[in-house]
Symmetry: C2
Subunit: 217 residues, 2 copies
């Protein structure tokens, strides 16, 4: 059971403006599209992708690297690490399995394969977009087990873009696509409430003390 009273109590500690902003942002949040990054050693790129997830309303980011949280470039993420949920995995297989079990189709983003063009991609089921490294792209494992391939049409000499740039283009366009479609892309009521509580907690100093006083009274 969701503790509506606790949420109401804690919301008393944040400004009306902030409360409204959380609700407004949560209305646009989605888990219908999620993002997975195989290589997070280029922290510059991963932090930029995290920022794009926030900007385009993607609530969850999956990274194949356990210690990711400690190594984020906070200057590039610009605070997005607070508002996007980052899930770490030891291996690519573990990441793909977890996402498939949650019902996601795995879409590999790649400039090289005979992939579907971005503007024609209109996901009809929950979709996890996988991004690889700039130089080597995605691992064989993802390429072999993916349910589909997606690419950005390019017409110049260069056949690739920086991975954070590719990701931003794809996330912007795919989220725009689902928002104007009739799929249920929004958070469920419970997901919405839980995030609202989570974000409210994150906005209060010494929230643990406040919560224990709430439970005592």
């Amino acid at each position: 059971m969701f503790d509506y009273d606790l949420l109401g109590y804690l919301e008393g500690f944040v400004s009306e403006e902030r409360k409204q902003r959380f609700v407004e942002i949560l209305k646009n949040r989605t888990k219908y599209i999620t993002v997975a990054i195989e290589d997070v050693f280029q922290l510059h790129n991963t932090s930029a992708i995290l920022r794009s997830c926030d900007a385009f309303g993607i609530q969850e980011l999956h990274v194949v690297e356990d210690r990711f949280g400690n190594r984020l470039d906070k200057n590039i993420a610009m605070g997005a690490e607070q508002w996007v949920d980052v899930h770490g995995y030891q291996t690519t297989a573990a990441c793909m399995d977890a996402l498939k079990q949650k019902g996601y189709q795995i879409i590999a983003t790649t400039p090289h394969e005979d992939a579907q063009f971005l503007m024609d991609f209109n996901p009809k089921s929950p979709t996890a977009l996988f991004f690889g490294t700039e130089k080597e792209g995605l691992s064989e494992e993802v390429m072999q087990k993916a349910d589909g391939f997606l690419k950005i049409p390019m017409v110049g000499f260069s056949e690739s873009l920086n991975v954070s740039v590719s990701a931003a283009i794809i996330l912007q366009q795919v989220t725009q696509q689902i928002r104007s479609s009739d799929v249920s892309w929004q958070l469920s009521e419970m997901e919405f409430l839980e995030k609202r509580l989570d974000w409210t907690k994150k906005s209060i100093k010494n929230v643990e003390g406040i919560i224990s006083r709430y439970h005592d009274h």
Copy 2:
């Protein structure tokens, strides 16, 4: 008069594959959309924008900074500086005047203004897209003299993206838009031939010697 014979002669020095590639890329090149960058002190960003211009077929980039060519980050531009024409200007006013005289409408890209959303932007006349700095955006001069404002819809906490990311998203979508419209976005026949000659020259070692032998024979 265009020197068809010289082009034919010089094309004898490059591989058939490369010749075909030039023609293929030139068919997709456009000057209908052009890009102007006010601040090029962040070379990382400007070099990335140059690469995006190449990838999406934009032939000309305008930069308000005379010494730009010497200070490019070639690791990021990935060779795009050879294939995209970069024009330098001393001042923003000079840049805007030159573009207006060539018949371009000036479109300021900005997250903050009451701007048109990217997906609704369908240019009906030649368009110069202006990009500013990440922190301060475009100068007052551009904001006051622009013919229109354009923004990427964002729904997260962060109200801005890295400028090279914004530019890539906008260039990708605007060029996609014009390619599926009925405006004449392609290079003129003469522009096409001149670029073909220029690129062929750039692909030949000691081309000056070859050209003078051609003129002598």
